[in-house]
């Protein structure tokens, strides 16, 4: 974690939609220059929380301070300090990228000189220079997302909030985007992003808050979370669906969890245990398709906390 001053402070934040508690007593802080992730499935309250921070939604209880400005008392100061990049591309298709950037700049009252500087920055760091004069409707998906990010941070805000920035991207573009975020961090920006992609959170976040049902279930460095909550390495056993119940009964004596069609067995000595489990299953007529040793991931952390998986398929269901 970066050692800096607190730039975002959220205390006991709550937002209800009737009986539904979208955000339920959430507290956390983000340090200046840090990349902070909100990890959780859809409906966990990540987007609501981010939209509250950006002044797009009212909240029912709690306190939010951004760059020392209280969100309730100084909403416009807070908004000026944040560059918000939502999931959807918020650009005008009939305008060129430059025109879209100019419009965004006007919303923050940027002068010409500053605008020129920021366009140069966006060209260099976000790579929008090659399609600056193209109409948005002519751009590819990846270009649109880069232009969208450039428009969101045209005013050079100290904080960048990204809501599911890589959802729907193919792995190559996703990696490119991670590099862009790292570049922004290298330029001194504080990044708060939401994701339900554990690899993304692991790859780029210094700290991660795992959200479930509007609450923060755990918050720490990904490495620490994996070590303290995810446990040590485990065996991943994959059997045919018809034999899954039998395999589960046989493995009951071990500390195991079943998620979808995979059986995870806690192992203190994984190499020794792999042979033992394999032989025991085979002796009972259960033949594993695959047995492998896996290191804990943030997904394991989530499974331990919620008892369910955090895959994109799960989240999108």
């Amino acid at each position: 974690m970066s050692e800096g001053k607190t730039i975002i402070q959220v205390e006991d934040l709550a937002k209800h939609y009737g009986e539904v508690k979208a955000v339920d007593g959430v507290s956390f802080s983000v340090q200046e220059g840090e990349t902070f992730g909100l990890l959780g499935p859809n409906g966990a309250g990540k987007t609501t929380l981010m939209e509250i921070l950006c002044g797009l939604r009212r909240f029912d209880n709690g306190r939010v301070t951004v760059c020392d400005f209280d969100l309730t008392k100084n909403p416009y100061r807070v908004k000026a300090s944040i560059g918000f990049c939502p999931q959807e591309t918020l650009l005008y298709d009939l305008l060129s990228v430059r025109e879209n950037l100019a419009f965004s700049a006007s919303l923050y009252s940027l002068d010409r000189k500053k605008f020129k500087e920021r366009v140069e920055f966006s060209s260099k760091v976000l790579g929008v220079g090659e399609f600056l004069n193209k109409k948005v409707e002519k751009l590819s998906g990846g270009m649109k997302r880069r232009a969208n990010l450039a428009a969101s941070i045209i005013h050079d805000p100290p904080i960048i909030i990204l809501d599911e920035p890589t959802v729907g991207f193919d792995p190559t573009i996703k990696r490119e985007f991670w590099e862009l975020i790292k570049n922004l961090k290298a330029n001194g920006k504080t990044v708060l992003l939401s994701t339900h992609d554990m690899y993304e959170a692991d790859e780029i976040c210094e700290r991660v808050a795992i959200m479930e049902k509007g609450k923060i279930a755990a918050l720490d460095n990904p490495h620490v979370l994996k070590k303290t909550i995810g446990g040590g390495p485990s065996l991943l056993v994959k059997v045919k669906e018809s034999q899954q119940d039998k395999a589960c009964r046989l493995l009951e004596k071990y500390d195991c969890t079943v998620v979808d069609s995979e059986i995870r067995v806690s192992a203190t000595n994984p190499w020794k245990m792999m042979t033992e489990v394999s032989e025991m299953l085979a002796s009972q007529g259960v033949y594993a398709d695959r047995i492998e040793i896996v290191e804990p991931t943030l997904e394991d952390v989530f499974i331990k906390l919620s008892g369910r998986k955090l895959t994109e398929e799960e989240a999108n269901r």
Binding site: C54, G55, K79, P86, L90, L94, L95, F103, S106, L107
Partner: protein, 372 residues
């Protein structure tokens, strides 16, 4: 200010890139203008087919009557050999009226007890009245001439009504009366339709989120949208004024120092009304339908086509509380009656106050919506 202009510039650029929108923005005033020119641009705006049944035969008198009727210019005569055939044509609406010169008409004229029969199609009372008044006037004038020539003395009517129509400046015709009403079209339709799309389009597309996440205040968003809508409305007004002058050449008082402030305030009223509809509408389609309905209903209340005195009393009262009525009246007063700044002070004040009130409502609705 930068952000207000930014929104206006963005909206204007988007407008010019949407070719269909540009086309219809220009086509609307052009079509309305061409339509009105075709209908009201002629010197004689009315002509009716009249069936003639001449039972008196061809005499010098009947010939001169029929030739006189023909030369009035507003009647086209069709001769029928008998009344039954003429009535069939009347019932089939092929002629507007049937005029019968009865047997002995010529003789009875000399005896000063002549009469003719006029049966008029009553399906359109205005047209029926025009035909009746026109033919009565013709026979009165015809008898004067006949009397003067036959008896060699001047015919004196028992009571003479010296009627004349008063005009400020030059004599005004149909087109002079219709042009001020036509100029209200863009104030009502263009301004409302353009501004209605403003907020609801951004909301539908999701781009309103970007605007709301920025430090721009709600009132500035509305001002930016207003500037762009005002620009587009001005295009419509400009086209309409140019076409009115070119196609109709109306003899009107084009005092732009008075017309511009009235049209500006009228447009602002329409735009504010559109923004209110925009904040209420949940989809562009719903907002567009609402704006069109409101504009179509309002056009009957504000005196665009006819004076609001023609309306039933309760509708007149309603018309008087609609700000656009004052804009329509002021435009007519300036152009037809050469009104001065003093004469239009009340409409100017009313429109200014209503603009402020409507914008107040618009801002409240917008804020209420964004803070949900």
């Amino acid at each position: 200010m930068n952000s207000i202009i930014g929104i206006a510039v963005k909206d204007t650029k988007t407008f010019f890139r949407e070719r269909g929108t540009v086309f219809w923005t220009i086509a609307f005033p052009v079509l309305i203008m061409l339509l009105f020119t075709a209908i009201f641009g002629r010197e004689i705006p009315f002509n009716a087919n009249i069936g003639i049944v001449n039972e008196d035969g061809q005499t010098q008198i009947t010939e001169s009557v029929l030739s006189g009727l023909s030369s009035t210019g507003f009647l086209t005569l069709r001769n029928f050999s008998d009344a039954a055939e003429a009535m069939r044509e009347l019932n089939a609406t092929n002629v507007r009226a049937v005029l019968t010169l009865p047997q002995g008409f010529t003789q009875s004229l000399f005896l000063q007890n002549a009469s003719v029969s006029l049966i008029i199609d009553g399906s359109n009372l205005d047209v029926a009245r025009l035909i009746e008044d026109g033919i009565k006037t013709f026979f009165r004038e015809y008898y004067k001439t006949f009397h003067n020539q036959t008896y060699n003395e001047t015919y004196v009517e028992p009571i003479v009504v010296n009627a004349e129509t008063s005009f400020v400046g030059e004599k005004k015709g149909y087109k002079e009366n219709i042009v001020p009403g036509m100029l209200c079209y863009p104030l009502l339709f263009s301004s409302m339709v353009v501004s209605t799309g403003a907020i609801v389009y951004e909301r539908e597309k999701g781009t309103l989120k970007k605007i709301r996440a920025s430090p721009i205040r709600p009132i500035n968003v509305l001002f930016g949208k207003t500037l762009a809508a005002l620009f587009q409305t001005t295009i419509s007004i400009f086209i309409m004024v140019v076409l009115a002058i070119l196609l109709l050449s109306p003899k009107l008082n084009w005092d732009f120092t008075l017309l511009v402030p009235i049209m500006f305030l009228g447009s602002m009223n329409g735009i504010a009304l559109g923004l209110i509809v925009s904040c209420i509408g949940r989809s562009p389609q719903e907002a567009s339908n609402a704006a069109t309905t409101v504009a179509i209903v309002l056009q009957f209340f504000i005196g665009m086509y006819f004076p609001i005195d023609y309306l039933p009393e309760f509708m007149q009262q309603l018309g008087r509380i609609i700000p656009m009525t004052y804009a329509a009246q002021a435009i007519r007063d300036i152009m037809v009656r050469n009104a001065t700044l003093g004469n239009i002070a009340l409409p100017l004040a009313t429109l200014t106050i209503s603009t402020i009130i409507l914008y107040g409502i618009g801002i409240l609705l917008y804020k209420r919506w964004v803070e949900k």
